[in-house]
């Protein structure tokens, strides 16, 4: 079952229109409780923050069970599978690292060069397919079909060059991972049998419906380490990362460990830069509350999403958002912003 449709673990107020938080002046809350289908994930909240119209397209308009009256349903579903070069190369980098570590866990000889070639071949296959069928009208019926790249679908003039750059970056960052001496500690720890690789993230003990995947986690003696791979360069924002704070919440539950025995790293493979994330009880409280506040905001839009009231989701035309949005074709405001 899609986690989006599982019953909630979040106990919130019943009034969907008013926010769940009782303000100082509101009336006593009714005794009934609302059940929400919303599952928080970092990518979901990021999209919500960026543009709620895109959020609608991704989570309601293109979903099979919601917004059934949406006139663009079939096209939205087709566009939803588009992936841009950043997303795809990041995905492949993570795939390569996971393969590398799993092979090491199984004591299989790991050949970084061969893995790198494999990753390149996947990306090239994506490109070939995207060139051949940019509209995505004839998706291959394979077990692992190639991805349709947004750059080709929207006929970007320099799509070929952009993808070449992405391939180059993928090669460089993966090479950094497999060879850089500073990362040996993570390669070795990730190769141990108890290391968790690309592990599904859930927070059942906290009555928060959270979904996600973390890159690497392991316990060495009493010390727990969580690692998040980043394909880009460090940007100095590690201290206030909600994503890493959520990993910390998970690690504390999963390993039954204390804050003092937990280290979280953001590893930027362009560099590389290893940035540690300061974990504290206060930070964990803030993260938990931030998640609840995010879900509240999403809940306020849920009924509109389910009913397919796209106009309730204000588009936020913004260069960096619109140029990477797979739904650009459908979004009038985005199109107008980009082409005016």
């Amino acid at each position: 079952m899609d986690p989006l449709y599982q019953p909630t673990l979040l106990d919130l107020d019943s009034k969907p229109s008013a926010s769940a938080t009782p303000s100082a002046l509101t009336k006593p809350a009714p005794t009934t409780r609302k059940v929400t289908n919303i599952s928080w994930s970092y990518s979901r909240r990021s999209m919500f923050e960026q543009c709620v119209r895109r959020y609608y397209y991704a989570y309601y308009g293109s979903a099979a069970r919601t917004a059934k009256s949406d006139a663009y349903k079939s096209e939205l579903r087709r566009l939803k599978v588009l992936t841009n070069r950043f997303e795809r190369s990041g995905e492949l980098l993570h795939l390569g690292i996971a393969r590398y570590l799993r092979a090491a866990q199984e004591n299989t000889a790991t050949n970084g060069t061969r893995l790198m070639e494999w990753l390149r071949s996947i990306l090239r296959r994506d490109i070939a397919y995207s060139v051949r069928d940019p509209e995505g009208l004839h998706p291959p019926n394979d077990q692992y079909p190639p991805k349709l790249l947004r750059e080709y679908h929207y006929h970007l003039q320099d799509a070929e060059r952009l993808l070449e750059e992405s391939e180059q970056r993928l090669v460089e960052t993966f090479h950094t991972f497999t060879t850089h001496p500073d990362l040996e500690v993570f390669r070795r720890a990730g190769s141990t049998s108890n290391a968790l690789i690309e592990h599904r993230l859930r927070l059942p003990k906290r009555a928060l419906r959270v979904d996600g995947r973390l890159d690497l986690a392991y316990q060495d003696g009493g010390q727990v380490t969580v690692v998040d791979w980043k394909s880009g360069a460090a940007d100095g924002s590690g201290d206030e990362s909600l994503q890493l704070a959520v990993y910390a919440l998970w690690a504390i539950d999963n390993f039954s460990t204390a804050v003092d025995h937990l280290t979280i790293y953001k590893v930027h493979l362009t560099g590389p830069d290893i940035v540690s994330f300061p974990v504290s009880e206060r930070m964990l409280t803030l993260a938990r509350i931030r998640i609840v506040q995010d879900i509240e905001r999403m809940m306020a839009m849920e009924r509109y999403g389910n009913a397919g009231v796209v106009e309730a989701f204000t588009a936020t035309p913004y260069l960096k958002v619109c140029t990477q949005c797979p739904f650009q074709r459908i979004c009038q405001e985005g199109k107008q912003y980009l082409h005016d």
């Binding site: 303000s23 206060r282 106009e311 260069l319």
Partner: protein, 776 residues
């Protein structure tokens, strides 16, 4: 005689300005296009000293050229950015004239004059400003320093078109606070550890890091001042050791090299510490020299010695503004050969309206009559009687609750004595105003969640919470105690007030009593008590306030519905007066506008919540409605309001023939307008509460606070913008003023905002205080 802080550009209503037309040509990234016109005008203003505006502002719809206030031919100007490039080319056509006689030119003329003024301020004075805030300027030096905080005079300038009068130039004065020491002092690694800790804690307090704010900074690169946000302390990094930096397509081996290349006159030592900051609207955080950065300090955090200096009395304000005009000299608009009238604008008496305060009705039919004259003594007595009447007659209506019990939830670490005193005094006040007995259950806690568990064992009720200043705890309280009526006080404030109380100064005791009164009055409001109401009906039976929080993450609606008691106050009931306030999450914080679909639904829901408990609602719908939008009705909000009104009429919640007026009300006047009274003696004082000046048929300035109760500073008027005629605007002004008399939080003082807007404002502040921000 009323006077405004406006000087009229001569020759007034016959003003004309000659302009040249220029076309914009060239290639650009289409995505940048919407901002390009503004960019071109800003560039011409800051680099070429030319006042320019998009032609569309002068009523040339769809025209993509710019109008420039110059008689000379414009040499082609080339502008380029990362992904755009354009030329501004003189159209070669004859000069055009913008004339004040043509109302379609009013906006354009006001903007051109404003730009010309700002060019002259930049060139002809030694004032400085912050990037991105072109209308606000600061004195070169602080006028007062205390305990490491420097207070600067701040001047805000704007222009407004007043029909039949001309273009008015408004200058207002405020105060900006910055730390005297730079961040190099706060993060100096060479002082002993204990001192380092003390300084860093002080920094955190000053910029409210503990409240979840990043910390607002002022970065001075020797050429410009820019607002930045604190990201990271130096941790040993210096200008020479930052590592490579890439900015605007160029690479530098370190910050030191960047400074040497870009700011050769700036003295920066290689070993100078750096701090990481982020700039609004730009990408990643960057290192900057710590000694070029000072912290911006909110008024709440300035030391006692500076607390009152931002309260500038009208006479002093007038003198300071005159000083700016003096600095600007005989040609305040530089190349635009215009002058202003030497005196501030005094509107004709026909434009000044004195709105009388309403009579007020309390419990047991206690009435405070309206003042019979505009005599200041009568107004003094009127405001004084409000408090006396509350003490004597009690609240107009108290909701029926079974148990008069308040749970006082406080941390064990708080002073038991302070908590006890707060509770005793609060309960005494409640008894006085409700004529009912109240009991208090103390709930001390070590961790807040233990208190939550304890409260959950009993029915929902009223709680007085003593909390720390953390947004997380405040949110936790609101979230975990849903359905409770909560009044929060911070432990810090409680201990400060209680300490004051025990001091030798009589003021300390007075401040404590005010604090207790505020707490008790707020508790009553949480319980839906109606402290008093206006005796007679207003022009509009209901007022709906629409407000968006400062960071656009929440919005709030508040409906105040007052039925006419048909002249029988003895038979008044609580249902004659209701107010419902709802604060809601806003999904699209990047935009100020409220989504029209959601706005329509939530207006309907708010009216319904307010009326449906009243069994008369179906037969007795709202007969007239004043909608007050704080700020502007933006985006498609108009559609949302219209859809809501239609639905309310269809559902019988609003009478079919009900008059509905929408008025924009600016809490923070964008136009920096002030008014004061010139007495017969020549003395400059605040205008009396309720003084309104009609600027035109659709715009009025209203002062709700004033001379009778404002003892420090100058009243801040509200700017009301309607869409009907002068009559409906004055009706709205009258009701806004009447709404402001429901100043339940401070009976003896005039309140600036009408109750409905005050409620939305309070709710939005409460929500903002709960929001976890820095994690993202």
């Amino acid at each position: 005689m009323i006077e405004l802080n406006l000087r009229i550009v001569q020759p007034g209503a016959t003003l004309t300005i000659a302009v040249r037309r220029a076309h914009i040509t060239g290639s650009s990234s289409a995505a940048e296009a919407p901002d390009l016109m503004e960019l071109v005008c800003s560039h011409l203003q800051s680099r070429r000293g030319l006042a320019a505006i998009p032609a569309s502002r002068a009523g040339f719809v769809g025209d993509s050229s710019v109008l420039i206030a110059t008689t000379r031919t414009l040499p082609t100007v080339h502008l380029a950015g990362d992904d755009w490039e354009l030329d501004v080319v003189d159209a070669g056509s004859a000069l055009e004239t913008l004339s004040f006689a043509n109302p379609a030119h009013h906006v354009a003329l006001a903007e051109l004059v404003q730009r010309a003024l700002l060019i002259q301020v930049a060139r002809g004075t030694d004032l400085w400003r912050i990037n991105g805030r072109p209308r606000t300027w600061y004195d070169r030096k602080p006028f007062r320093c205390a305990e490491g905080i420097a207070a600067y005079r701040r001047y805000t300038m704007s222009c407004i078109a007043i029909p039949e009068v001309g273009i008015g130039v408004a200058v207002d004065v405020g105060t900006g606070f910055f730390t005297s020491d730079s961040l190099a002092y706060f993060f100096d690694p060479h002082v002993p550890q204990a001192e380092q800790t003390r300084r860093q804690r002080r920094f955190e307090r000053l910029v409210e890091r503990q409240r979840g704010r990043k910390g607002t900074l002022l970065y001075d690169n020797s050429r410009t001042h820019t607002i930045a946000y604190f990201e990271k302390p130096p941790n040993g990094v210096t200008c020479a050791t930052t590592g490579p930096i890439r900015l605007n397509g160029e690479s530098y081996v370190s910050l030191l090299e960047y400074y040497r290349a870009k700011y050769p006159k700036l003295t920066v030592a290689p070993n100078a510490p750096v701090v990481k900051v982020s700039f609004p609207g730009r990408g990643r955080p960057v290192w900057v020299a710590a000694d070029r950065v000072h912290a911006s300090v909110m008024n709440d955090n300035v030391p006692q010695a500076l607390k009152q200096i931002d309260k500038i009395a009208p006479a002093e304000r007038k003198r300071l503004i005159e000083g700016i005009w003096h600095q600007l000299g005989p040609r305040p608009f530089g190349f635009l050969a215009l002058d202003v009238v030497d005196e501030f604008w005094r509107p004709e008496e026909r434009l000044v309206v004195r709105i009388a305060p309403p009579a007020l009705l309390y419990g047991r039919s206690g009435i405070v009559k309206a003042p019979l004259s505009t005599d200041i003594a009568a107004y003094h007595a009127y405001f004084r009687r409000r408090q006396l009447m509350l003490d004597q007659s009690g609240c107009y209506a108290i909701p029926t609750v079974e148990r008069r019990q308040i749970h006082c939830v406080y941390p064990s670490s708080a002073s038991e004595e302070a908590v006890r005193q707060l509770v005793e005094d609060t309960v005494a006040a409640l008894r006085r105003w409700t004529n009912q007995d109240w009991r208090v259950t103390p709930v001390p806690y070590v961790t807040f969640m233990t208190a939550v568990e304890e409260l959950r064992q009993v029915d929902r009720g009223v709680a007085l919470l003593v909390l720390d200043g953390e947004p997380a705890t405040y949110f936790e309280a609101a979230y975990q105690l849903q359905g409770w009526r909560l009044k929060r006080v911070t432990k810090h404030k409680l201990s400060e007030k209680h300490r004051d109380r025990g001091g030798h100064s009589g003021n300390g005791m007075k401040r404590w009593q005010q604090y207790v009164q505020l707490t008790a009055l707020d508790l009553l409001q949480q319980m839906d008590a109606v402290l008093w109401r206006t005796l007679h009906p207003n022009h509009y039976e209901a007022q709906l306030a629409i407000d968006v929080g400062y960071d656009s993450r929440h919005y709030a609606l508040s409906l105040l519905h007052m039925r006419d008691m048909c002249g029988k106050p003895d038979h008044a009931t609580a249902s004659d007066f209701r107010i419902v306030t709802r604060a809601l999450s806003k999904a699209d914080p990047r935009q100020e506008t409220i989504n029209h679909v959601i706005l329509a639904d939530e207006i309907w829901q708010t009216v319904r919540e307010c009326l449906v408990p009243d069994e008369r609602a179906v037969d007795d719908p709202i007969r007239s409605l004043l909608i007050l939008r704080d700020g502007r009705v933006v985006g498609r909000e108009r559609e949302g309001i219209e859809a809501a009104v239609k639905r309310l009429r269809d559902d019988g919640l609003l009478a079919n023939d009900a008059c509905v007026d929408v008025v924009e009300i600016r809490k923070d006047s964008l136009k920096s307008l002030r008014m004061w009274e010139i007495e017969a003696t020549g003395e400059v004082t605040n205008a009396l509460e309720g003084t309104a000046v009609r600027l035109c048929d659709t715009m009025a300035l209203l002062t709700t606070t004033g001379r009778a109760t404002l003892h420090q500073g100058t009243a801040e008027p509200l700017l009301l913008t309607g869409e009907g005629n002068s009559e409906s605007l004055l009706r709205a002004a009258g009701d806004v003023f009447a709404g402001a008399q429901l100043n339940w939080a401070s009976p003896a003082m005039a309140q600036r905002l009408p109750l409905a807007l005050k409620r939305t404002d309070s709710e939005l502040k409460a929500r903002a205080a709960q929001e976890v921000r820095r994690l993202r």
